[in-house]
Amino acid sequence: MTEITLQTEKVRGPWADVWAQFRKHKGAMFALWTLGTLAVVCLLGPLVWRIDPNFIESDTVKMFRMRNQGPSLAHPLGTDQLGRDMLARMMFGGRISLAVGLVAMLVAIFIGTTVGVIAGYFRRLDGLLMRLTDLFLALPLLPLLLVMIFLFRDPVAGVLGPRLGTFLLIVMAIGLTSWMQAARVVRGEVLALKEREFVLAARSIGTPSRRIITRHILPNVLSPVLVAATLGIAAAIITESVLSFLGLGFPPDFPTWGRLLYDGIAEIRTYPERVMWPGIAISLTVLSVNYIGDGLRDALDPRIRGR
């Protein structure tokens, strides 16, 4: 009996506490499993399911026979209008969708944290940077994203190639238009942290601002940034699929889930499953990520933790 109590009272790191609280959130745990499964299938699936997602039968007669097949053992999710295997395309598309979400989130969080920390820490820049943030918040983002991608898609693709070019353009465009919430939250935290004793102590022994920010401020704004990052992934995936849905997304030989859905719309009456699969995949991913963000927010809030 005493042994057990001793073990539980062993010093636990702060992350163990967070994890313990996170595990209590049933929805978030379920979401973590769902997202994990989806990610593993998309990342490792192509190693097992070795059909090329862009493989089109070169023999026309065979190709016509391959088109629009229903689910079978050879093609569990059927084939599309060019006879390409849907399962392989779904896994390939999932990789890109998840990559877009992650990278766009990283761009947004990087800009947001930088702006937030600088605005919160250096009072002289605060007004200017927050005006900039307000300005970005007042921009009509979806129309501007559409315009940006339409106008710059071909020139960027000409320089970097259609795949990398589109990827970088979309990721940067989404990142550049979604950093404002993170910046505001971080600024608020930094403003409060700056007046705390440990920062004052660091400054009184002559620590330069750069070191104070990296050693003392950044680790302490980590939790709001983590929550913003999680929710940012979901928002980026949705935005990318909206762009794809409006026909301004990825090329068809480099599809995301959004692009697959867009391609399926034309034949939704005859082959509804081709819209359903990507739609379900996007919805499940975004729902999971949002639930995980919710769980993380609860777990990282010390007022709720340990209740």
Partner: protein, 335 residues
């Protein structure tokens, strides 16, 4: 309050000017020429004439200032003329769409009613659904109703509208045949039958948008009501022996609606942006469809003007939200 309102109005002007500059430059500096759709066989001197006729050969700053003048001065004059039959504008040049050679504001005037009917109805219904759900979820926190409400809200803003929209089309329009799949803009409501037709074609797009909006607003309502339920004045009201209905619906509700009202005001312009997608799903030729059409043919004046109108809406509703907040909550007067 008045001085706050005036100060707020004055700060909105530089913001709007900056936004207009950003939008104008972004669209304008992009590669591609307004003549990219004109065949290559057209001789260069004719091309030059065409550019001159469009005013596209002027320096950027000149075009920007001209566009600003047209947007803020000439177009309102035409608006007044159309309303009162006056002639203030005296044939001054308007912002002309490169695609259809028609004034952009005329296109917007033709497209806006469709967007407003669908978006407006959807937003209203969304708010009407969200409020009771939010209030009851907060009142019975962690009950099964609250859990279901949380899931509904989560699903509401996680499942993209283009998926729910197509799902609804598939179920209710294709399989059951209850509603049409395409929104008919020419339909005029003259009698009972056409009214019913109008309702049928509005049902699906309004449902999609309303559910999406309700999800977000119900969350705000819930957290706001929750916050107020723990306040001292609620305990006082209960201690005085007041009935639960009155405590919740009168005391708590009034106070918790303050942040909700501002969220509703702030959300309205984003709904216009979101309506772009809904219009695309249901083939409604509203203002979003006009924007997409203009983007696809590099019709720069239309793109710039429509995008800027969205920006004006955002700034305007931010202003309204701020002022409403000041009026509703006397503790937050800024002066």
């Amino acid at each position: 309050m008045l001085s706050f309102t005036i100060r707020r109005l004055l700060t909105a002007i530089p913001t709007l000017l900056l936004i207009s500059l950003v939008i104008f430059l972004l669209v304008d500096l992009a590669p591609g020429s307004p003549l990219s759709d004109v065949p290559l066989t057209v001789p260069p001197e004719v091309r030059q004439k065409m550019l001159e006729a469009m005013g596209a050969d002027q320096p950027v700053m000149v075009r920007y200032l001209l566009w600003l003048k047209q947007f803020f001065w000439i177009e309102p004059l035409y608006g007044i003329d159309a309303l009162f039959g006056t002639d203030f504008a005296q044939g001054a040049q308007r912002i002309i769409s490169w695609q259809s050679k028609v004034p952009v504001f005329q296109i917007i005037g033709e497209r806006l009613p469709q967007t407003l009917t669908v978006v407006g109805t959807a937003y209203l219904i969304g708010v009407l659904i969200a409020l009771p759900i939010g209030i009851y979820s907060a009142y019975r926190q962690y009950s099964w109703f609250d859990q279901a409400g949380t899931f509904f809200a989560m699903a509401g803003f996680s499942v993209p509208t283009f998926f729910t929209g197509n799902l609804l089309i598939l179920i209710f329009a294709v399989n059951l045949g209850w509603f049409p799949t395409i929104y008919d803009t020419n339909l005029e409501v003259v009698d009972w039958a056409s009214f019913k037709e109008m309702l049928a074609q509005m049902a699906l797009p309004v449902t999609v948008l309303a559910l999406f909006n309700a999800a977000e607003i119900s969350r705000y309502t819930r957290s706001s009501v929750l916050e107020n339920l723990g306040q001292d004045y609620v305990r006082t009201a209960r201690a005085k022996g007041m009935g639960e209905g009155r405590v919740v619906l009168k005391h708590v509700l009034r106070n918790s609606l303050i942040p909700v009202v501002t969220v509703v005001a702030l959300g309205l312009p984003t709904v216009f942006g979101g309506a772009i997608v809904t219009e695309q799903i249901f083939k409604i030729n509203g203002i979003g469809a006009a924007l997409i059409g203009a983007i696809n043919v590099s019709d720069l004046p239309t793109v710039q003007t429509v995008t800027f109108i969205f920006a004006v809406l955002i700034v305007l509703f931010n202003l309204i939200a701020d002022i409403l907040y000041g009026i509703l909550d006397p503790r937050i007067r800024y002066d």
